[in-house]
Symmetry: C2
Subunit: 306 residues, 2 copies
């Protein structure tokens, strides 16, 4: 679809993760059309990034000059388009002066990639989430507290005075996917249903006795064989056990804190339910809006006048 | 290879798991040749079991009459050749009177399959391990204590007065395989090396703070990126974290107990090292010998004179 000249974007926001690419046409009025593709970093060779992006946004490109493109996520990893080296915490989530300017073959774009964050002790890294955090801070100025970004690799992030103080990653989402789709437990988890009571009970169980997680998993299989545990209850219980174990280990992050969840609606709701049972009242923000707000803050400080 | 008539086996012992099939020619003098195949239960339709076994042992079959075949493992599951229903603990690991006699198309074999064991609370099941336990008891009469059978699904089994009193399954081996071969951690675990010090430290760490397991896993990836953690150290540390977490949850089984490990040499040695650090002096028995001893005890009580 070719856009009329009057609607050409001012700049392009790109969220390029391991398995997905999303590009949004940004105008002075805010975000316009978003296009996505499954050509994530994980499926591309280094030389394929530029043609992949150009093909997706070709009709947004100017006939003269170059349009600014701000990108975040795994596109900036060592296996990505160009490495944007980690910034070490404590630091602000984003810094317009620390962007990696990438030389492109196509003169119609000026590409800058946001670096991720690293932590020395305990060792940890993030890429992409720093932009969501910057966006959430832009949407909630002066927020001091904790962000939880549930997902494949959930992050808990302590933010104070505009800086990321510390963070911790949990492989909860990836463990759930592996166990529910690939392990022996998959036999009892066909379908997509959900048993909220089973989830709630499993969270409570794992939170109060997290050291028992290793003993809980195979029980799901055994109950399926012996008592016909329903697939909905089995899936919800596995999710609850894993999230409860994460919450137990992340307790120093959330105990007594103001928590904002950034993620997909369904997953954030599951975490919100679990945290509410612990007496918290977490807010929820949608991840795509945070990413765009974060990239917009970069654009704003680097090119205040377009 | 056709055997001369003088060396024809008295009976055939079959260990048929999810991914492997092993058949051993048994004579009055003990085990003879063992043949194996990768045609495990998981890859066979119900109608394929008999032809698969016959093809493997054809030249061991008599020209007249039928040879007894005693089998254990997943071959007796609902998805196997014929279901041998679980026996509920507390009970002896094997009972010759509870074998499932399977009608075969080929008249040259008389097939009996050993049932597994089930436990109601907490729900648990085993198939194949009960035969190893019976064999270990045959090799160590009057043993009272705990068997640990490390593997894909590790089992801890409390045995007293010849009966299985209780048991618990841990998915440690399957988790290690999934995490080291399929998850994001695989990037830092190429090769097959081993760092014993990293393993020992991780076991101690997980045993003393098992509730932190969820927080420890992603660190392996982050350290690989940030400080170049070696693949050998990463693999050994992942193994140590998972085994240490299992040992923490299985503590009620092994604390102050006489423990016998039944498994492969390398894996049993890893568990023995970890348990020794806790002040235990576990013995080790090879799994195949225990299986044969278990099936032999069935053969002995059912057909005392051949």
């Amino acid at each position: 679809m070719t856009q009329p000249a009057g609607q050409m974007p001012d700049w392009i926001a790109v969220d390029w993760g391991t398995s997905n690419l999303r590009a949004t046409a940004m105008t002075a009025a805010g975000p316009g059309e978003t296009r996505s593709s499954e050509k994530g970093m994980g499926s591309l060779a280094q030389s394929e990034f530029e043609p992949t992006l150009i093909a997706l946004v070709e009709d947004w490109l100017p006939t003269s000059g170059a349009i600014p493109v701000f990108a975040c996520g795994m596109v900036g990893s060592r296996q990505g388009w160009a490495e944007a080296k980690y910034r070490a915490v404590p630091c602000t989530p984003l810094d317009a002066q620390a962007l990696t300017l990438v030389r492109t073959a196509d003169p119609r774009i000026t590409l800058r990639i946001a670096p991720g964050l690293s932590q020395t002790n305990p060792p940890d890294v993030m890429r992409g989430e720093e932009t969501q955090i910057a966006g959430a801070l832009a949407l909630n100025p002066n927020f001091d507290g904790v962000f939880c970004l549930p997902g494949t690799h959930s992050k808990w992030v302590h933010v104070s005075a505009g800086e990321v103080v510390s963070f911790q990653t949990f492989m909860t989402g990836e463990l759930f996917a592996l166990l529910s789709k690939t392990s022996v437990l998959r036999h009892g988890m066909t379908g997509k249903g959900w048993d909220q009571a089973a989830f709630d009970m499993a969270v409570t169980d794992a939170l109060s006795r997290p050291e028992k997680i290793a003993a809980r998993l195979f029980s799901l299989r055994a109950e399926g064989l012996l008592t016909g545990l329903s697939p909905d209850a089995a899936r919800a219980r596995l999710s609850g056990l894993l999230i409860g174990t994460e919450l137990a280990a992340a307790k120093p992050y959330w105990l007594g804190q103001d928590v904002i969840l950034i993620g997909s609606e369904a997953l954030s709701a599951a975490y919100a339910t679990a945290l509410s049972a612990q007496g918290l009242t977490p807010r929820q923000l949608p991840a795509p809006a945070c990413t765009l707000a974060g990239l917009s803050s970069l654009k704003g400080s680097l090119c205040p006048v377009h």
